[in-house]
């Protein structure tokens, strides 16, 4: 995109210093460039100017003509010949700012000792730097009931509010969830929510972070610490593939809060509530010592040498597979990849702990996922295929929404019904009956080289859909972005933690690629056969399995049972369903305790360091010890060693194989009382990394089944009434929502309360369920 228009530059004078900035730059921002800080509350670089708080008043003069009164520098763009005098050089501006500050403090309760913002409060700081020493106000302060819970995770204290409208502007302009507005007028003006709708936005935590006073505070962090107690660490979010920069604040070895970090190439300054608040899982049911299952079938604590010996014994001379799980760091995934090939001598490795298909492996080898956030910014059209960005990669949603709001970016989405996210994106819904994705994808046209096609991991659930999507991309030269749901997936593909790929996208089937990697690893030869997939490893293909962070009920209802018949070595942070069936359990470090990096969907990796001191070690270190025990060392004693080796291997420059067009699968015949089920995971659901955070769970979307109007009439149910969805495996009963879904289809959340589909129905899509009135 080298066709960028040259920007007109403007020169003005601020406090006697000349500064040249692009046209349209606000005075407050131009002053920042000179290092002059003008106090402000409402101004935020990513939000539209509002001029609400009036704190940034400065004296402005253009070509010798002065404004009669000080002006808000956050709303006025610079002009040629502008002479600005801030509080540093103009006594008038200084007096105006002090007056505004005094006014803002008139109704501010000054309850700083009990306020969570105390110590990191822009109002506190700027009242000290730009306020009067004393207040002349002697009247009674306006009071409100405090605090009001505007959702289970955000508390509102209206007394403290300075009406800067940052929260309301964020909700409207960035998140597209205008659930929070300014009500009333004059002295009684206040932030409020609608009577019947709480502030259940997926992004509500950002309003807490950008509130310049303590008016919005998080329930989970309420009264927990002061800023000086906290040690802040840059970190990466482990929840999804969006790749947010984060800040983890730790007090005495305990994570107390997480904030969105800044990265213009990823999350800008935002994150989602899951990333912000779901971190308590790391202290629940932690495994602290290695364990071995004894003769009586009980797990017994063991020493590391004992446990490693037992694991090594069980894994050698067996048909063995490795299930990595989608939450490992790049370094850990690389460790698993090398461990499987070198120590176990097999390609039976798969990171996909979810519904998966063999066709997907071909896609990993063939797809060239190059799209980035910047491409979304510049796209002429975004096509979403089996990808619900708001639920499955919330920051991707924010980026698309930004462009939709700014320039009405065209978005089309392949989905069974118009979800709230699609509505907000004003997306053209390419509606289809679940299972008919291939035809729908083939019918898409009008893509150009500037279009972006974002593919979600669910597309693999329909046979032939991935190859159709790839064909669409190749045909139109559009940019392809593969956006998996979990944070570790992209890294795992790159690290070769998958049956047909070696690190760097090298094909197992390619001899030169194998030689490449074997040379880097100092191995004489690598296994040549393409390995088994997750389903085959769980099935009859193996009799011993090494498992990382995997929840068997993410894969299938029978996975736990069939794994229980094998020799299972589990590397886990806490007790899980795998622990119940494991023969050897080895504790590993949680994300906050280890260093590493996550690769986001753009392929950009974000390194992070351990935030909490711990004796627990990263998976790769333990795999290295286990490989030593087996007698085939992988020589990755540290995370940094793994990173170095992985980076040295680099990406493959060989040609990517093309993907064969596969069949479209049989279409399903649906009876009158039957429906084809489809589903995806809501952002906030029963995911195991969200455990222990009830305030967050309180803002999860209601669990409802989406049915069509005619089905509702046929069942004689109204919106919100209970329906029963069943198959031979089980049944769920939940309220229905009537939407524009096909008459033959039904949509349910995949893993929400009362709707844990894999556990209860044994299916998540493309199969027939019975629907009846409950």
């Amino acid at each position: 995109m080298s066709t960028e228009v040259t920007v007109e530059m403007i020169t003005c004078v601020i406090d006697g210093f000349e500064v040249t900035v692009p046209k349209g730059t606000l005075v407050i921002r131009a002053a920042e460039k000179l290092g002059i800080q003008i106090p402000r509350f409402c101004d935020h670089p990513l939000l539209d100017p509002a001029g609400a708080c009036r704190q940034c008043l400065v004296d402005i003069e253009i070509n010798g003509r002065a404004f009669p009164k000080p002006q808000a520098s956050c709303t006025i763009p610079v002009e040629n010949g502008m002479v600005v005098k801030t509080q540093l050089t103009s006594p008038v501006a200084d007096k105006a700012q002090k007056g505004i500050m005094e006014l803002l403090l008139i109704n501010h309760p000054l309850d700083c000792p009990v306020c969570d913002k105390g110590g990191e409060c822009p109002l506190q700081n700027q009242a000290m730097s730009n306020g009067r020493e004393t207040s002349r106000y002697e009247g009674v302060k306006r009071t409100f009931e405090k605090p009001v819970a505007i959702s289970s995770q955000v508390l509102l204290d209206r007394e403290r509010c300075v009406l800067c409208a940052r929260c309301t502007r964020f909700s409207e302009q960035i998140a597209g969830d205008p659930f929070i507005t300014l009500n009333e007028r004059g002295a009684l003006q206040q932030v409020g929510i609608y009577e019947d709708e709480p502030f259940n936005s997926y992004y509500s935590g950002n309003t807490v972070q950008i509130c310049p006073v303590g008016a919005l505070t998080g329930t989970s962090y309420r009264f927990r610490a002061r800023p000086f107690d906290l040690v802040s660490n840059d970190s990466a979010c482990e929840h999804c593939a969006s790749g947010c920069a984060m800040r983890t604040d730790v007090r005495r070895g305990k994570t107390l809060r997480r904030l969105a970090g800044e990265d213009a190439t990823a999350n800008e300054e935002w994150n989602c509530d899951k990333g912000r608040w779901a971190f308590k899982y790391e202290v629940k049911n932690r495994i602290s010592t290695p364990m071995i299952r004894n003769a009586a079938g009980q797990l017994e604590e063991a020493s590391w040498p004992e446990a490693l010996a037992a694991a090594a014994k069980g894994l050698t001379n067996a048909k063995v597979g490795v299930l990595v799980g989608g939450r490992s760091t790049v370094e850990d995934a690389y460790g698993y990849s090398k461990f499987a090939r070198v120590a176990l001598g097999t390609n039976n490795i798969d990171f996909r702990s979810r519904i998966n298909s063999a066709e997907e492996l071909e896609f990993f080898a063939a797809a060239n996922s190059t799209a980035t956030y910047k491409d979304i910014d510049n796209a002429d059209q975004v096509v979403l295929l089996a990808f619900e960005p708001e639920d499955e990669s919330p920051i991707v949603f924010l980026r698309i929404y930004k462009q939709v709001r700014k320039r009405a970016l065209k978005v089309s989405t392949l989905t069974p019904y118009t979800s709230r996210g699609s509505e907000k994106l004003n997306a053209t819904v390419i509606k289809m009956v679940p299972g008919n994705e291939v035809a729908a994808i083939s019918a898409i046209n009008g893509l150009t080289g500037k279009s972006v096609v974002l593919i979600g991991e669910r597309l693999s659930e329909t046979p032939g859909a991935l190859s159709a999507a790839l064909e669409l991309v190749n045909k139109s030269a559009a940019k392809l972005g593969y956006v998996p749901r979990r944070a570790g997936d992209t890294g795992a593909i790159a690290a070769g933690a998958v049956a047909n790929l070696l690190p760097g996208g090298r094909l197992v089937s390619d001899a030169t690629a194998r030689v490449d990697v074997a040379a880097a690893w100092g191995a004489s030869a690598l296994p040549t056969e393409t390995g088994l997939t997750t389903n085959e490893i769980i099935g009859s293909g193996t009799n011993a399995v090494l498992i990382g962070g995997v929840d068997p009920f993410d894969i299938s209802a029978e996975a736990k049972l069939s794994l229980s018949k094998k020799f299972v070595v589990s590397l886990e942070i806490r007790e899980s369903d795998i622990t119940d069936i494991a023969q050897v359990v080895l504790p590993v470090a949680a994300v906050v305790e280890k260093s590493g990096s996550f690769m986001d969907w753009q392929g950009k990796s974000r390194k992070f360091d351990s935030a909490v001191e711990s004796l627990n070690r990263s998976d790769v270190r333990i795999l290295s010890m286990l490989a030593d025990e087996i007698g085939k060392p992988i020589n990755l004693p540290t995370v940094s060693a793994a990173r170095k080796e992985f980076e040295a291997i680099g990406n493959w420059d060989g040609a990517k194989p093309s993907m064969k067009s596969t069949g479209t699968g049989a279409s399903l015949n649906v009876g009158a009382d039957e429906a084809i089920i489809s589903s995806w995971r809501n952002l906030l659901d029963k995911g195991s990394l969200q455990e222990g955070e009830d305030n967050l769970a309180g803002t999860a979307r209601a669990t409802t089944a989406v049915i069509s109007q005619s089905r509702a009439s046929a069942l004689s149910v109204k919106d919100g009434e209970l329906i029963r969805v069943s198959n031979t495996y089980g049944a769920v009963t939940l309220p229905c929502t009537i939407a524009d879904i096909d008459n033959s289809a039904i949509w349910l959340p995949r893993n929400s309360t009362n709707s844990q589909l894999i556990k209860v129905l044994g299916t998540v899509g493309n199969s027939i369920v019975k629907v009846s009135k409950a």
Binding site: P113, V114, K146, R222, F223, R226
Partner: protein
């Protein structure tokens, strides 16, 4: 460079300082009278009242503003004054204070208002008794007593917990947690408008 590093003796008066460091020499002969004069203070003190106190059998009161062990005070109805704001910990130059705040939940009210100090520890191995914490306290929850007997045989015992620091429940108080005085806000408490406990707050201590 080297010249600059040399002390500029005249400016700093170093010469004078060197003079005063010279050994004291007294060449006069030590006569008997002079020796007697030297012992005068000794003899005089023998006939004065002694300053020594037979501690610990005898304990003298301290100066009224002596900086002794801290105390966490209570409101007249027994609620704690501490709101867990951590300003004391912030002010502490020796990092001797550790505070964790928490929410006053309905039915579990420890202090007036929203917040109370859930964990309150002072490490007397670190405390230097400077009193900055007392100055920082916005609710006068933390004051210092005149108690100075703060020795013990383990380190752990010298980290005082909230129970060790809280002032005693006096007559007319109700042990927290209990609700606030009826129809009051925390502001009434801070203005001293709650004189005693109300029967609705719980069983009032009456001895």
């Amino acid at each position: 460079m080297a010249d600059e590093l040399m002390p500029r003796s005249n400016e700093n008066g170093l010469e004078k300082a060197n003079e005063s460091k010279a050994p004291i020499t007294n060449n006069e002969p030590a006569t008997f009278f002079k020796q007697l004069l030297g012992f005068w203070v000794t003899f005089r003190t023998m006939f004065q009242k002694v300053n020594t106190v037979q501690y610990p059998e005898v304990k003298e009161p301290t100066a009224p503003r002596f900086h002794g062990r801290h105390q966490l005070n209570r409101h007249p109805d027994g609620l704690e004054k501490c709101i867990g704001c951590e300003l004391c910990a912030w002010a502490c130059p020796a990092d001797a204070i550790y505070v964790e705040g928490a929410d006053n939940k309905p039915g579990e009210q420890f202090s007036p208002g929203e917040r109370y100090g859930k964990v309150y520890q002072i490490n007397y191995l670190r405390c230097i008794f400077c009193g900055l914490c007392i100055e920082a306290c916005p609710t006068r929850a933390l004051t210092m007593t005149n108690e100075y007997e703060l020795a013990d045989n383990t380190r752990g015992k010298l980290i005082f917990e909230k129970e060790d620091l809280l002032g005693p429940l006096r007559a007319g108080m109700v042990p927290p947690p209990h609700p606030m005085y009826p129809n009051t806000t925390d502001a009434n408490y801070y203005r001293g408008e709650v004189p005693n406990a109300h029967p609705s707050q719980g069983v009032i201590k009456n001895d």
